[in-house]
Subunit: 357 residues, 2 copies
């Protein structure tokens, strides 16, 4: 439903309709000039051959250093979503289940359904500020993975690191892997250290959000070697490899990671403040501690989809909450637009919220 | 086994060993300057956002025109292999079988095995010059697809167009789709027209070979609309989309397709002649009518893998025949190197063939 809504937005844009797109999880900051220049030069200089399915060694080495592991634990993928999908596809047997907290990223549910996995959704509540009670997670014999998306898309709440550790620890004791989907981790307002690979953990990460490189389609998995090998074999029979010239650009981006992450983290924190200030009083909302989404609950009679459709007519695209689980009264607003535009869009949203009450 | 061999070659290269790589199906011609420039500009100008999972409309429109169909029949994929894998994955039920001729491209077999499909391999013989007798294809109730790879990787034999039509016709009558994997079709020495979409047919195609764009990872599927929609849904939950800036480059390459295809077709024909002349008398071989491979049978006691391993020590990489079916005595030589290098490598191969006898 989310992606259908997105395609509707693309179609309207194609018709020339001016839309402020706060529906997609897509930063308005651009890839660094150095990364673009490196990729462009590599493309121009003919780095356009097939490459290793595992990824370019220089990129894997850099990532291994960040995550406290070996290059053989790193697999470069066309986005972290592809990495997670591949991992699930290769690992699931009939009857296996996947556990994750909800609100949750749409793609987890779509993947599990398309792969025939059972969903074990642990529903969180706005009243508890979306806090997860790790002790409530029920790990059964058929639990294959627990997906930990912290910070979470759509709530932009990061779990306390202590709780994350408890979760990984309790899963490990039962022989279950936690998949940490860390697409937004660099955007924790408290500026966390890189997640280190440990037993019982698989990390999925992306260049999309921190580096503003969504359209490059480049991410990576950090996994025990035997799992990494299976991912690589699957890449061999599907996408072959991520374009080498793009990997070289990504490696260049990584050199400035600290500077870039510090900067975009500040931007995210400021925008979260602006959003809460603009529409906080007309919705029920938990203040984000990371990332660039807000996930308010509408207080009127209108549900999230109706609200999103009406708002689209006003030239502002947001995502209906139902796309993220059993949250029909919510909407997800991605605070990703140049700030004058963002203020304008938030104004339009405020206006419609006032009317909807 | 093929991809393991390839990774071995990558590792040797990484160690700084100079290797003439005739193992990979990778043209030595480069993408057109115009295509590179267009992609470079698009990357520099920030065409680095998420795009439609179906692909960029301007590229789909161009491809639809080529293949006599609507843009809604076109799906842009990260390589044609990904498109074929996705199609099989979404379509196969337990007990379904896939039929293809052998020698066959390694990936078909690996895909089918990883997806649990039954292989129905129709073995061709060198004595018949790898000609397929279409009437011998047995289409059962469990036949899901017939893969037609004409010209064929590894034999570089294209089926007569009349026979192709017969095959598609007889499959259609039984409600079975033929997947035409047309990666090499532009390289038929007789210069064929673009394949048109028709009932019972799904076309997989690639920018890799004709345009020398292997490392860009861009291909496409031409399929009935309801199948195209399912492919698009799968792209949404895996790779999201092929990078837009690369699609724009591919669209630019397409504008010069006739000129480019004419040129590389002449190159292929000339190289096939050189190869036959150099090693034809020391092997059993069918003269290609397309593409850039030869698939000779070794006449000595050594099998293809032994020969390939020994040859690798001499700095020339080729692929063992066993990777393409029950053809242990064969090797696949990809005639893709700058021609002085190619002559040198063929000389090394001739030398080893003489010794091996």
């Amino acid at each position: 439903m989310l992606y259908e809504f997105f395609e509707k937005v693309y179609a309207l844009e194609k018709q020339g309709k001016g839309i402020i797109k706060l529906n997609v999880g897509e930063p308005d900051w651009k890839p660094s000039k150095q990364a673009v220049r490196t990729a462009n030069e590599a493309l121009r200089n003919g780095k356009t051959n097939y490459g290793s399915a595992a990824g370019e060694m220089q990129l894997r080495e850099k990532l291994a250093e960040l995550h406290g592991c070996k290059p053989s634990n790193i697999v470069i993928t066309p986005g972290s979503k592809f990495g997670i999908h591949t991992l699930l596809m290769l690992s699931l047997s009939k009857g296996d289940s996947i556990t994750f907290f909800s609100p949750h990223w749409t793609a987890y549910e779509l993947m599990c359904k398309s792969l025939g996995a059972e969903l074990r959704i642990v529903k969180l509540s706005l009243e508890d500020k979306w806090k997860a009670d790790v002790s409530k997670i029920d790990i059964s014999e058929r639990t294959k993975f627990i997906i930990l998306n912290s910070p979470c898309n759509p709530t932009s709440q990061a779990m306390e690191e202590k709780e994350e550790k408890e979760l990984i620890e309790s899963a490990r004791k039962k022989g279950v892997h936690v998949i940490a989907d860390d697409a937004y981790r660099d955007l924790c307002f408290d500026g966390r250290k890189e997640r280190q690979l440990e037993e019982g953990l698989i990390i999925a990460n992306s260049f999309s959000k921190t580096f503003g490189m969504t359209g490059w389609r480049i991410g990576y998995m950090v996994a025990p070697e035997e799992i990494a090998k299976r991912l690589i074999s699957h890449i061999q029979i599907t996408v072959t490899n991520v374009p080498v010239f793009l990997q070289l650009g990504a490696a260049r981006a990584l050199e400035d990671k600290k500077k870039i992450a510090d900067k975009v983290r500040r931007v995210c924190r400021r925008r979260a403040g602006i959003a809460i200030k603009t529409i906080g009083d007309l919705t029920a909302i938990a203040k984000p501690n990371a990332g660039f989404y807000i996930f308010p609950k509408l207080l009127g009679k209108m549900d999230g989809l109706q609200f999103a459709n009406l708002l689209l007519e006003q030239g502002v695209a947001i995502a209906p909450g139902a796309a993220f689980g059993d949250f029909q009264q919510h909407v997800r607003i991605s605070l990703c637009a140049e700030e004058k535009k963002l203020a304008l869009a938030l104004g339009v949203i405020r206006n419609m919220l006032s009317k909807a009450e």
